[in-house]
Amino acid sequence: MILLALILIPLLGGLLAWWAERFGTRATRWVALVATVLQLGVAAGIWAVHPGGGQTWWLDYARPWIPQFGIGLHLALDGFSLLLVLLTGVIGVLSVAASWEGITVKVGFFHFNLLWTLAGITGIFLSFDLFLFYVCWEVMLVPLYFLIDVWGHEERHFAAKKFFIFTQTAGLFLLLGMLGLVLTVAARFHVLTFDYFTLMQHPLGLYPLARWLMLGFFLAFAVKLPAVPLHTWLPDAHTQAPVAGSVDLAGLVLKVGAYGLMRLTLPLFPEISRAFAPIALTLAVLGILYGAVLAFAQTDLKRLVAYTSISHMGFVLLGIFSFNTMAWLGVTIILLAHGLSTGALFIFVGILNDRVKTRDITRMGGLWARAPILGGLTLFFALAALGLPGLGTFVGELLVLQGTFLVQPLFAVLASLGFILSSIYALWMLQRVFFGPPAPHVEARDVKPHETAMLAAAIALTLWLGLYPQPMLDTARAGVAQMLSTPEGGTP
Amino acid sequence: MATVPVAHGLLLAGVLFALGLVALLGRRNVIFMLLAVEIMLNAAGVAFIAAGARWGRVDGQVMFLFILTMAAAEVSVGLALVLQFYNRTRTLDVDAATSMKG
């Protein structure tokens, strides 16, 4: 029941926020903030009550929905999902806070879309019925389309369409793969069901069609992740989305891709995925390096950050297709840390855009003199992006690379070059924005208190992840081991 | 009563249909095109009658009545469109009506 509440809070909160607009935009904002904080609180409460370890499945909620087709309202929660739901809560609060001043038109509808996106994402993390998963997938996409299309920047219509076409095509692959899987299982085992656990008990093995089904599941999530060469929607969407949209995209939507691969693609098709691993690992390394090179080449700050996401998601893909617990725990940490640090970078770009009225880094410079606090905060997240030890991303990348090295040393070595390339773009960005002689026509205002609060929260969490990730690792461990179906801990 | 062989009926229908078709494709005047469509409809009717007579069933005549009614409705709608068309373009040449091209 409490799982249903996790999804319903943002759903109802969204409706309520829209309705509350009649009492003024402040009412809307507060309703949205309360809803996101409430969701975060509930998730944190679950974490506090279950001190980790022990059993894999913490909570389970199943009701029949369309029994004729074997579709049920099946929600469940393990430690891995919980961490992602917690991330959703944090990012939700951050994105409402980040839109506090920036969004001035159609405020009610904006928050409705924002919260429904969050609800869809939460639903994805909790659904253990493929049909329900697909429904949540769509609930996430459509509001996000509106977020980009209505409140985005100058090229928003193009970006929104591109985003929608890519992700909807991905959704089509998912739907086809899903239906194919269900029908194949029904034909072979005479069980018509969309239920995750039931499907897991009827493995297709190396059944010929399974190859194509796995490809469908892979493509769907690879677009979302995004893996090179399916990534090109991301820079446009990130660049044109409003701040909260970018924060959501980077912080959560990309994680859905990783989550899908880890929860569905690999556990449902373990043998075929292993055979597919060399291709996926190649794509991962390509993504790490390609994203980093392109990030360096950009002049639009948001585009730059978008390409850094592509590079980081390469590490995620690398870790996922290494098939060992260490790498998967690393992926978990990367997902959390990247969500926070990249989300914070987008908030920073939003603040900067607010001050300088441009995102073009060739027109910036010397901002440190005017806004040292902003500079210090940004320095922190740029360092997180380049993988400085002690910050969250590094722990994740360390575990991913070490885990990968145990099974695929060559790929791990190639991926490590990302460390060098990432410092190039991160330092380049700092240099162009903050150092050098001050650029003319830059407003002298530094960060405002609520902005500092947002970024300080993200800093605290990033440091926690970087210096004491053990609670997260312990929480995720059982779930990760279950998905990998390897004995807990250690090497495969 | 000497029956007309069914082949003759179908032949007549075919000829009529072909005449209508040629007229439809060849004429540009919209009134004549409507007439051509009527002729083709009647050709179909003749074919139905002939076939009905051949099998000794009423279905053919029922279908002919259908076609008759439908043709009447079609003519009324068609002529209304023609009037509108003429009012707008001051011509009856269908090739002038290309505003819906892709």
Binding site: V228, P229, H231, T232, Y290, V293, L294, A297, Q298, T325, L329, G366, A369, P372, L388, P389, G390, V395, L398, L399, L401, Q402, F405, L406, P409, A412, V413, S416, F419, I420, S423, I424, L427, W428, Q431, F434, F435, G436, P437, P438, L467, Y468, P469, Q470, L473, G489, G490, T491 | L21, L24, L25, R28, M33, V94, D95, A97, T98, S99, K101, G102
Partner: protein
């Protein structure tokens, strides 16, 4: 007493945190006091630890603060490990660090960003201490990257000058290449030995296959080469002089650049399993020390002379490591920290007194205006040049030279390179002294401040007496330093005290005195200035490595980035969209709006269908 260990990194870190957060609301004096005081307390803690160690050596002391992460056997902790090697490093880092902080309080007193400066400096000391005390490789890497970050921030401290920021980026990126090698080495070692704990790794190292040992050692060497500015990753160090002079003294002379030496000494068990890599260490060190000494000879910028000198001296330490003279390398690290910090601080005073002038050819005769600094710099230069029998530099350098020939891995040609480098070192050290302090006098402001004279005085004393802890056998063989490090580092071969040792000792003395004499002839009597062409120019520009790397790496990368800028992959999707639009064009052309065409198409279709039905 040893439980105070955690304070050594925590105090400077606390200083950083206070300065970075609430420092803005505190007066400048308080900020300065915080910045200097935190390191001072850390130095005090180190001294207490040393005293406790002297009273009752525990062998090694381990302190775990908390488990960093724990996945299977991959379990690095925030754990500090204190043994004699770490203690020596700790004392030097916090002690010399404290003196430099005191000096910096004077040097930076008029800088508006003094809070930021001390925040970065404190963070640096904290990270350096973490590096030195780390019990496992990931924690060492944390300190390693942390000092790199502080180096970046401090080189680019005066960020309004684009040149400074570029130098900072260069330093970070080039060392980062080495760091990446280091972390790959970490992956390899864990994959092979199943632990990341340094002591456990050393214990298990004999079990490595030769190939794995070679790879691991080579990768660790890559990290060391980057951090310590050795060939081929040496080009960042001269440019790093863009930072404030205390930074150059602390980071780019005394401590951070020698981290590579520490790493190799710390991981010596891995290196001894890989003889090929040991040879590479020696060769890299030897070549770097010679090339850098030549470059130092040709520099005009005072700080760059010292930068190349640092590179050269660190090269000498590498050569010592490569021949297995671990203790000698650490000994030279210590004496070098003293005299090079002294030289940098003195150079800072000179530059300050001349209002920012750094070109040695435009200096002269400062002996009168800055007598105290003259004596300090003279002692530093004597120690750097290895003036026989009274300076610390002589003993540490002689230990290295002796072992470079006589150690098992040593060779006469290594000794010859070392000897020649020692000679060149004496020449450029006294070229500097003569050009700056002798000859016609230039206008300068005298400097009188306790914050200058005390650190300089202490460092000058250390530069002299620091050498009497490891004497050659012929001079008595008093060697508590070697005895102290014996539990950690393998014992070098005993000196025989015979005629050969005397000869080599004499040769070292001759190199030093001869170099000083040549410098006197060339620069005190004639004030020779090297021409801006030919070999001098080539040496001044660091043997053309910058241009080479620009051509080989930087420009291709920029070109690649520029070519890919608009995301070449997106071209495919744009192509797909264009194809769709084209198809749309064709198909919509069919919709031409002519009713008779539609009718005709209808007929054609019907005929076609009929035909298909009939002749199927």
């Amino acid at each position: 007493m040893f439980s105070l260990l955690w304070l050594a990194p925590t105090l400077p870190l606390a200083g950083f945190l206070i300065l970075a957060t609430v420092g803005a609301r505190l007066p400048r004096r308080v900020n300065t006091a915080l910045g200097v005081g935190s390191v001072g307390l850390a130095a005090l803690v180190s001294l207490l630890l040393a005293a406790a160690w002297a009273a009752a050596p525990p062998g090694a002391y381990t302190q775990t603060l908390w488990t960093w992460l724990h996945v299977g056997t991959f379990a690095p902790g925030i754990t500090f490990y204190l043994d004699p090697l770490a203690l020596v490093m700790l004392l030097v880092v916090t002690g010399v660090g404290f003196l430099i902080h005191v000096y910096a309080a004077w040097y930076m007193q008029d800088d508006p960003s003094i809070r930021r400066f001390f925040a970065y400096m404190n963070l640096f000391v904290a990270m350096m201490v973490v590096l030195v005390l780390a019990d496992n490789l990931p924690l060492l890497y944390l300190g390693w990257e942390g000092v790199g970050l502080c180096s970046y921030l401090l080189i680019g401290f005066w960020y309004r000058e684009p040149g400074n920021v570029k130098a900072a980026m260069k330093a970070f990126l080039i060392t980062r290449i080495g760091d990446t090698a280091l972390i790959i080495g970490l992956f390899l070692l864990f994959a092979q030995l199943g632990t990341v704990q340094i002591q456990a790794l050393l214990a298990a190292a004999p079990g490595l296959t030769p190939a794995a040992a070679t790879w691991a050692a080579a990768l660790l060497l890559g990290g060391a080469v980057g951090k310590s500015a050795q060939l081929p990753l040496q080009t960042w160090l001269p440019d790093a002089m863009a930072g404030p002079t205390p930074v150059s003294a602390l980071i780019h002379a005394a401590t951070m650049v020698t981290a590579g030496v520490y790493l190799i000494a710390r991981m010596h068990g891995i290196f001894t399993q890989a003889p090929g890599v040991m040879t590479a260490v020696a060769v890299i060190g030897a070549v770097t020390m010679l090339m850098a000494a030549c470059s130092a000879l040709a520099q005009r910028d005072l700080k760059r002379v010292l930068a190349y000198s640092t590179m050269s001296q660190v090269g000498m330490m590498f050569m010592a490591l490569g021949v297995g003279a671990w203790t000698a390398a650490i000994f030279h690290f210590m004496t070098h920290a003293f005299f090079k910090a002294l030289l940098f601080l003195g150079a800072g005073v000179v530059i300050h007194a001349l209002g920012g002038e750094q070109d040695v050819t435009k200096m002269g005769g400062l002996r009168k205006t800055l007598p105290g600094v003259y004596w300090a710099l003279l002692i530093g230069a004597l120690s750097l040049a290895g003036f026989p029998f009274v300076t610390a530099g002589f003993y540490s350098k002689d230990a290295i030279l002796y072992l470079s020939w006589t150690a098992a891995r040593g060779a006469p040609w290594l000794w010859a390179l070392g000897w020649f480098t020692a000679f060149l070192t004496a020449v450029y050290a006294f070229r500097m002294i003569f050009l700056v302090f002798h000859g016609p006098a230039v206008q300068a402001h005298p400097v009188r401040d306790a914050r200058v004279s005390v650190p300089l005085g202490i460092l000058a004393v250390l530069s002299v007496i620091g050498g009497f802890v490891l004497l050659p056998r012929v001079l008595g063989g008093f060697a508590p330093f070697a005895a102290f490090l014996r539990p950690v580092l393998p014992e070098p071969p005993q000196r025989d005290g015979g005629i050969f040792e005397v000869v080599l000792l004499a040769a070292s003395a001759v190199a030093s005195l001869g170099g000083i004499g040549v410098a006197y002839l060339l620069f005190a009597r004639r004030r020779t200035t090297s021409p801006d062409a030919g070999l001098a120019r080539f040496w001044r520009q660091g043997w053309g490595f910058d241009a080479l790397y620009d051509r080989l790496v930087v420009h291709p990368y920029l070109w690649l980035a520029q070519e890919c800028r608009h995301d070449v992959v997106d071209a495919f999707y744009h192509g797909l969209a264009d194809v769709c639009l084209m198809l749309n064009g064709w198909l919509s052309a069919l919709q031409n709006g002519r009713v008779r065409w539609y009718a005709g198409a209808l007929v054609a279709g019907a005929v076609l269908l009929l035909a298909l039905l009939v002749w199927r």
